[in-house]
Symmetry: C2
Subunit: 111 residues, 2 copies
C-alpha cells in the first residue's frame, strides 16, 4: 500500500462505496448499526436458554439478576445489550461469547 499524500488511495470496492455513503455522515452509520438486527441476539439468548431447559427465572438466578432483566434481553426490540451481560449469560450456560467482525454481507461458515 502506497502512502497517499492526502489519503490512502484505494482500489477496494467496498471502501469506495463506504466513502460514497457514509463519509461525513456519522448519523447514517449509527442508524445502520442500530437497525441491524439485534433481534438476533435476543433470539439467541432465548433459544440458548430453552435449549438448556431453563426458565427465565432459573437463568436469572444463575446470572445473578431477575426475570424482568432476562425478559428484556430476550425482547427482539431491545438494543441495549452489553458484552458484559452477554458474557454473564454465556458463563451461566457454560458457554463463551465469541465475537467476530466479518465483511459486510458475508456469512461466516463453520467447519
Amino acid at each position: 500500500m502506497k502512502k497517499g499524500t492526502r489519503r490512502t488511495p484505494t482500489t477496494d470496492a467496498v471502501e469506495i462505496i463506504r466513502r460514497r455513503y457514509y463519509e461525513g455522515r456519522p448519523e447514517r452509520i449509527v442508524g445502520l448499526a442500530e437497525a441491524e438486527a439485534n433481534d438476533t441476539v435476543a433470539r439467541k439468548i432465548c433459544k440458548l436458554r430453552k435449549r438448556a431447559g431453563l426458565t427465565q427465572q432459573q437463568l436469572a438466578k444463575r446470572v445473578g439478576t431477575t426475570t424482568s432483566v432476562i425478559s428484556r434481553l430476550e425482547d427482539a426490540d431491545y438494543e441495549g445489550h452489553s458484552l458484559a451481560m452477554l458474557r454473564r449469560i454465556a458463563s451461566a450456560l457454560n458457554k463463551r461469547v465469541e465475537l467476530r467482525f466479518v465483511s459486510a454481507g458475508r456469512t461466516t461458515k463453520l467447519a
Copy 2:
C-alpha cells in the same frame, strides 16, 4: 431429554461441573465473565482499524465520536464494550458483528 420431576437430570459433564462451581454463587459467574479476556475485543478493534489503514481520529470520525473514545475502546483493560458501539465500529469499517455462544473452552473453526 426426559422431563425431570424436580429438575432436568443431566449426564452432561460440563453441566455437572457448572452445578458444583457456580450454582447459587452468581458472584462467581459475574467474576468469570469479567475476567474473561475482553482484552481480545480491544485488540480486535485495534487491529481492524490499523488493517484498514486508519488513525483513531479517522475511525472516530466515521463512527461519529472522538479519539478518546476510540482509544478507550482499544484499551486492553477496558471492559465496557456495548454491542451498539461494536456495531457502529463494524459498520464504519464495512463489517458486521457476528456473535456466537460457543461451548466453553472450545474454539470455533472457520471453513
